[in-house]
């Protein structure tokens, strides 16, 4: 049962760390992009459509790194392949 304990503990800790560390970069990047876009809209309200569209696409691009982290941590918690392997070996 030692293997199962180790895998469970490691999965939970690592998935928490993945989200915690992995969301720092995208959060800073997105807030920076948003603040730049807001000041750009404030200066050029006529270009608001173009800026907003570019902003959305850019935010989606930045966000994808956070989404990767999220998918990894979800896999670790809900459908962990190593966990399943150990269960199948033990059973």
């Amino acid at each position: 049962m030692a293997a199962i304990d180790t895998i469970g503990t490691a999965s939970i800790i690592i998935s928490g760390l993945t989200m915690a560390i992995g969301s720092i970069g995208p959060a800073i990047g997105e807030s920076w992009a948003l603040s730049r876009a807001l000041s750009a809209i404030a200066q050029q309200p006529d270009e608001a459509n173009t800026i907003t569209r570019t902003l959305f696409v850019g935010l989606a691009m930045i966000e994808s790194t956070a989404i990767y982290c999220f998918v990894i941590s979800i896999i670790l918690i809900f459908s962990n392949p190593f966990w399943d392997y150990v269960i199948s070996m033990g059973g």
């Binding site: 750009a40 050029q44 459509n49 696409v57 989606a60 966000e63 998918v71 979800i74």
Partner: protein
């Protein structure tokens, strides 16, 4: 145990043929879209009185044409069928999330991968149709043939990113609501569902726009490629020059 994707809810199985919730809900979305399209394109008239369905259809179509024209900076007709269909499918499949028991097919990785694969294959098809095979494939060996593997990796990784982005957003929303129902079942899930509707529309828009951008960047000739960054960068330069004088008085006081 939370069911991660509607793939795991198998409704019908025979030999190797498996019908799960993803497939059924995709059929439902396709059916609704087909019926709506059929119903709204009957009795089209060029002169008033217009039917309500025709006005709604024309509003959606003209909005999409305008968006594509602004992104492409050229005629939108070649791109409208593909990008517009992507948007309508994704949009309807997330709007239907307000129906109890329905799970958006886009919260399954297989659906998003299939859509991303469509984009992956549409890029060379549009590129070759618009500028010929030799011109299209020459793009991969520019500026030097050394860049060939990087260009190919870029194509593949952005397809994976396209699939994972949509899947991650839609799945996280479903999962969040599921977790919240077990924690605070009365009000919070409703708010998150409202938020989820917004996210679904934004993601549908982003997916369609990214698909359009990929297709256009592959099918545009050199001149348009050179022109585009110039237009994109212009506001930033102006912004810089306008911002600097403003900052100086702030620093002085």
């Amino acid at each position: 145990m939370v069911e991660l994707s509607p793939d795991e809810a198998v409704l019908w199985r025979w030999e190797f043929v498996t019908i799960n919730e993803t497939i059924v809900f995709t059929w439902i979305v396709i059916g609704i879209l087909a019926i709506l399209a059929w119903a709204s394109t009957r009795h089209l008239s060029p002169t008033p009185p217009f039917s309500r369905r025709q006005v709604a259809l024309e509003t959606i179509i003209s909005y999409m044409r305008g968006e594509i024209r602004e992104i492409a900076r050229r005629d939108s007709d070649p791109y409208l069928p593909f990008s517009g269909t992507l948007f309508l499918f994704l949009s309807l499949s997330s709007i239907l999330g307000i129906v109890p028991g329905y799970r958006s097919p886009t919260s399954s990785l297989s659906t998003t991968t299939a859509l991303a694969a469509c984009v992956f294959f549409a890029v060379p098809v549009f590129g070759i149709l618009q500028q010929g095979a030799s011109d299209y494939f020459r793009r991969y060996v520019q500026p030097t043939p050394l860049m060939l593997p990087f260009n190919v990796i870029g194509e593949i990784s952005r397809t994976v990113a396209l699939a994972l982005r949509l899947f991650g957003n839609m799945m996280s929303q479903t999962l969040l609501v599921a977790v919240l129902i077990s924690l605070a079942p009365l009000f919070l899930p409703v708010i998150m569902d409202l938020f989820g509707l917004l996210i679904g529309q934004v993601q549908a828009y982003i997916f369609a726009v990214l698909a359009t951008v990929y297709i256009i960047s592959a099918s545009s000739d050199e001149k348009a490629v050179e022109e585009e960054p110039e237009i994109e960068e212009k506001p930033e330069i102006e912004e810089e020059s306008e911002e600097n004088p403003k900052r100086e008085p702030e620093g002085g006081t």
